[in-house]
């Protein structure tokens, strides 16, 4: 095969992107579990892993620009690099979401949650499952899986609506719940955004495979 070095670099770039995806996936889930269990150690782990995500972001972006400048990638290679440049932005935002949730864990260590957390961890599970599937679709250039994965964002949106309505009810009934309830509303909103970012990733994967721009929202 011609241009072996270039193709190795491209392979490494994809692997790094998948590694970044796995970190983001774990972080969203861990951050939410740390909130549920009032676990400052786990929250700390999320914050540490966050800087690893940021480092990977910078490194992958540098490699993309180097390949564009030095190798003049074409066709699917070009689309792959274009897709990666977009995917890592979404992954970095997901990483930030996990950090925000971990910070809320630390800010709420001393207070009891107004109710046992069920739907919020469910949202985080769906999101991290979606990230895993989107990375699988990216790895195998699987357009069908990307489209299927994006559909699950509806579940996340529905849960967000439900959680928000429930929390509003709590706040109306007892103003003392407002502090905790507003923290939880933020968390639910972060996770809802997380689902949107995964949907963007799925769109990038479809573009990478077919060259077609689509809207999966």
């Amino acid at each position: 095969m011609a241009r072996e070095q270039y193709h190795n670099q491209l392979r490494k770039l994809k692997e790094d992107t998948i590694r970044m995806g796995n970190l983001a996936k774990d972080n969203v889930l861990w951050a939410t579990i740390s909130l549920k269990n009032h676990d400052p150690e786990l929250a700390k782990r999320v914050i540490d892993a966050g800087s690893e995500i940021d480092e990977l972001y910078a490194q992958i972006e540098d490699t993309c620009f180097a390949l564009l400048a030095l190798q003049q990638p074409m066709a699917r290679d070009l689309r792959t690099i274009g897709a990666i440049l977009k995917i890592i932005i979404d992954l970095e935002r997901i990483g930030d979401i996990a950090l925000e949730i971990a910070r809320i864990t630390i800010a709420t260590l001393e207070e009891d949650h107004i109710k046992p957390l069920v739907d919020i961890p469910r949202m985080a599970e769906i999101c991290s499952g979606m990230i895993a599937s989107s990375m699988e679709a990216f790895k195998n250039a699987d357009e069908g899986l990307a489209r299927e994965t994006a559909k699950r964002d509806d579940e996340v949106d529905a849960l967000f609506d439900q959680v928000r309505r429930e929390l509003i009810t709590y706040m109306i009934e007892d103003p003392k719940t407002i502090k905790n309830a507003s923290h939880l509303t933020f968390v639910a909103r972060y996770l809802e955004r997380c689902g949107d970012h995964v949907t963007n990733i799925c769109e990038s994967v479809v573009y990478m495979v077919t060259g077609e721009r689509i809207d999966l929202n």
């Binding site: 095969m1 011609a2 241009r3 270039y6 193709h7 003049q72 990638p73 074409m74 066709a75 699917r76 290679d77 070009l78 689309r79 077919t210 060259g211």
Partner: protein, 254 residues
């Protein structure tokens, strides 16, 4: 493609060098006032193809050509076609600059002279005009009587383009015009081609895929004597239809 005016229409073109079947059933419509690039690995037939367009292959013994090449409605593959006036209409610029060992002026005036132009004033005008269109005038206007061989490689190549323009062609064929030039001269020739496109139809053979991607409007990919894919350049380099095109332009073979 549908909105383009077709300048050259090729149908079922086959070419043999002795036993070697060099071009197989080529069919392509080359649009007017556009740059069409031909790419493909060595030996794929792209140079053989471009040489069919002004019957340069006639000069190689043992060649046989079948099929149709319509230029302005006329089939130029026919035996009775006057190849001299055909080559006036379809000019060609080669890989290595090949100026005649005479003055800059005489290099340009040569073509019009053999086509019967003897009026000194008109010749002066043609020379100036051609050099201007080839973006060389400002560099040589004070030394038209110097030998063309005193020019740099990039200037010599632009001189050859000016020489082609002097006989007022409609189509210009470029056979790897920049492969012997440095990057600065290369970008000058590329800019020039884009400028010339307004008046002429341009077909360029290039080994440099980035050059094809930079300058051309349409790209044709040849492989083993066949035309594999022909499309708008931005489509072909972003989302090619054929796997072999994809493999070639991404460097997976060739």
């Amino acid at each position: 493609m549908s909105r383009e005016i077709i300048e050259i229409s090729v149908r079922n073109l086959n070419l043999w060098y002795g036993e070697n079947h060099a071009l197989i059933n080529i069919g392509i419509d080359i649009p007017k006032n556009r740059i069409t690039a031909l790419i493909g690995p060595s030996g794929c037939g792209k140079t053989s193809f471009i040489r069919c367009l002004n019957r340069m292959n006639d000069l190689i013994p043992g060649t046989k050509m079948e099929g149709e090449i319509l230029v302005g409605g006329e089939d130029i593959t026919r035996r009775d076609v006057d190849v001299v006036s055909l080559r006036k209409k379809i000019g060609m610029v080669f890989q290595k600059p090949n100026p005649f060992p005479s003055s800059i002026f005489d290099n340009i005036a040569y073509g019009p002279r053999i086509h019967g132009e003897n009026n000194k004033e008109r010749l002066v005008r043609i020379v100036e005009d051609s050099l201007k269109r080839a973006a060389l005038w400002d560099e040589v206007k004070d030394r038209l009587n110097l030998s063309a061989l005193s020019l740099s490689g990039g200037q010599q190549q632009r001189l050859c383009i000016a020489r082609t323009l002097a006989v007022e062609p409609e189509i210009i064929l470029f056979d790897e015009p920049c492969s012997a030039l440095d990057p600065i001269s290369t970008s000058k020739i590329e800019d020039l081609m884009v400028e010339l496109r307004k008046r002429y139809t341009i077909v360029i053979v290039t080994h440099n895929m980035q050059q094809a991607a930079r300058v051309s409007d349409y790209t044709a990919f040849f492989l083993n004597g066949e035309l594999i894919e022909f499309d708008e350049t931005r489509k072909l380099f972003k989302t090619p239809r054929e796997k072999s095109t994809e493999d070639y332009i991404t460097g997976r073979f060739g």
